[in-house]
Point group: C2
Chain length 437, copies 2
């Protein structure tokens, strides 16, 4: 049986080049998809509900007579919740409670109260923090419909204090996913429309007679949805456009190799483009993980996806030591970073760039994906260098407060006027000078 995964060694001369090649991922921007999305958006902007209805009936093979008919009733939502097996409902509710609790802590800790301070001359400066008014959550239909994502997108918005959450979820051929609808009820989603694609993005961004305009759209979608989100950015806020999911495991060789193999599988099973990488200083341990991969692969229901993902984008990398593993991890800036090691904190202290860090061998990524509490919407494709997990802060915004006292205006007015003249902006200068006695 051929090796299902690349093997690299950081001591090789061409290691950096090989690592770059492994990480390279170019989101294909299909001009045809972009143009199609732009046309649908323009249609929704000009024709509103009629355009949304036409597109939904056409692309999702619906036969609705109005957009109103595409909104789910509270009764239907409650029925979806009631239809769940008790243990599944309990799991969903436990996950929701834990996610809510973490994000409440985050709200408390991340400056949501704003601040203000008074200077000696009576001038007050500060910052006011307020929630967004209304948020749209896009939930994909079909096989990639994840109830956990509904929780992860809606709960931080709710905790932030967003007054109305509108969910859109396409239901091709009218097929609904009760687990997704139940998650929406549990997360506190206010209204649900069974629409999708660029038409749903347009409806949320511009508003129609039936669907209210939102201030921000979050949640993953297909290429049409991503193209539409890019185009409405500015009219509304959007979250990051996600790339393929990634896991990077740093292991000191003390974790059961089956566990690490399965953690690599858990990322690889998402799709063929997902990326699973192991960094380890122990060559014998890497052999053991590879043996585990070979042993466990055939037993996995999604083995074809896992095999392709590991073969094309995975790697087992021998490093010199754990310090070097951390340096490489910083250059990779992975979405998920497991530090499966004794005393993981010492290595975590060296990490500057990662979406989420899973410390210690009991912290498998799967726990974080569903129910540990922190968000599973994380920066991919090295964007953890400059961006953060989805959080309460994504549903809040800040306003500066400037309350200059009469005395303060005497000092500030002179400085402002001097600089305004320097920039050739005389009205700025005079406006400041008017406040001088």
């Amino acid at each position: 049986m051929s090796l299902p995964i690349s093997r690299l060694d950081s001591a090789q001369a061409d290691f950096k080049a090989k690592l770059s090649a492994l990480l390279a991922f170019e989101a294909s921007e299909d001009e045809a998809i972009d143009r199609a999305a732009a046309q649908i958006l323009a249609d929704v902007k000009s024709r509103g509900d009629a355009a949304v209805l036409d597109a939904s009936n056409r692309f999702d093979r619906m036969s609705a007579s109005s957009v109103q008919a595409l909104e789910l009733s509270q009764q239907e939502m409650q029925q979806a919740l009631a239809s769940l097996a008790p243990e599944r409902r309990a799991a969903l509710e436990t996950a929701a409670a834990r996610v809510r609790s973490y994000h409440e802590r985050q709200k408390q800790e991340c400056g949501s109260a704003g601040f203000s301070y008074t200077e000696a001359d009576g001038t007050v400066l500060g910052q006011k923090v307020t929630p967004l008014d209304r948020v749209g959550i896009y939930v994909p239909g079909g096989k990639a419909a994840y109830p956990s994502s509904v929780l992860m997108n809606a709960i931080p918005a709710k905790v932030a204090g967003v007054q109305e959450i509108i969910m859109v979820v396409p239901t091709p051929d009218g097929v609904k996913n009760p687990l997704v609808l139940a998650a929406a009820v549990i997360a506190g989603v206010d209204r649900v429309f069974t629409i999708g694609g660029a038409q749903a993005v347009g409806a949320l961004a511009y508003g129609t007679a039936t669907i209210p305009q939102v201030d921000k759209i979050v949640g993953p979608g297909n290429a049409y949805v991503a193209a539409a989100k890019r185009r409405v950015f500015g009219t509304v806020g959007i979250d990051m456009i996600a790339g393929p999911s990634e896991i990077l495991v740093i292991c000191d060789g003390t974790t059961d190799p089956d566990w690490v193999a399965m953690d690599l599988f858990s990322q690889a099973e998402h799709d063929e483009l997902a990326q699973s990488i192991l960094l380890c200083p122990d060559a014998a341990y890497i052999e053991a993980v590879q043996a585990s991969i070979l042993k466990l692969l055939d037993g996995m229901p999604r083995k074809d996806v896992i095999r392709t993902s590991l073969a094309n984008r995975g790697a087992l990398i021998k490093v010199r030591d754990m310090q070097e593993a951390c340096e490489i991890a910083n250059s990779i800036a992975a979405e998920h970073l497991e530090i499966s090691a004794e005393n993981p904190q010492q290595w975590a202290d060296l990490i500057r760039h990662a979406g989420a860090m899973f410390l210690g061998r009991f912290s498998s990524e799967a726990l974080g994906d569903y129910c540990a509490g922190p968000n599973h919407v994380l920066p991919t494709s090295r964007t953890a260098r400059f961006s953060s997990p989805l959080g309460v802060y994504d549903f809040q915004k800040r306003s500066s407060i400037i309350h200059v006292s009469e005395q303060g205006a005497q000092t500030l007015g002179r400085v402002a006027a001097e600089l305004a003249y320097g920039e050739g902006l005389q009205a700025h200068a005079r406006s400041a000078e008017y406040r001088l006695k």
Copy 2:
């Protein structure tokens, strides 16, 4: 003399439609500019320094022999600072000190320390906050070159802990602006390249042999720069693409009308698309402001720009009362909101959406533009509904911390496995189940 500014009344039946028409602003997306920017980016990506050099020599009429020659030496930077008139240098230094002090407070107050907490079973959850490694600041050349913008973009990055700040500023025909270079020295910019346009954005986003790759690009630029920034978003972070600047003044009729007229001018003088609006419940006061506008306009050096801006995009709006003014202000979500009134705080409490609020008649926007302390890079075009002033938080990012204890894994593993099976992700489920005893 004809009225230089529209007059509206919120009691008119068609007020909402008229207000919408007034606010409507469609950023023209020029396909030719976008294509040209894309070509330059592709060239920089493939040819690096050579492409940057060619574009700079061609578009900025430079005659450099290498990109190294386009970097300014520390000596040249220090000479720019030394060349300033003492009062101008002092003003710049005072402004920088105040901006630094506000952003240090912001860093302290907005959760920069991160957080972590331990649950009953020993599981630790939290969030680590780290600065970006390296940031690029785009500074326009020519007439729109504002030293105050250099301070406002660089200082929050520095306060956040960014290790290296690279500034790019085009110098068409080799003409440098000493005030801009001096501001860069005062703000702590590390390296300055005299390049601009899409080629500068590409160099910062992809890196070249001479110019290091950054993690985020901030700062305003022309249409080519904006198009290039949109396209590199994802490879690096970017700030908001700014629209025309706006001021909204809510006045209760107790401020000297000349002051309010000049505050409206101070926005209108930026460019013909800038927007200046007054909301006031007092009809006689509105007449007085209009008289002040007529009286003061001819004395302004930039009167042509001001006249066009006020005529095309300005308005004096009579409202029923101050409460209604605040409601309208929330729907406008202005970049700059002056509440020029007695006891302004009572009205500020009603404001949910604004980039910056200037309270009381001594807080003219010009003071905030230069030296009050809060940032002058603010959300425009109603984006204050969902976005914030540039701040320390724009140069930091967060990583989730998940350290599950052995005991915690027993509870979380069961919940995660239940949900993973529900989503058809068996490797996720087994990875969680491996951690069960």
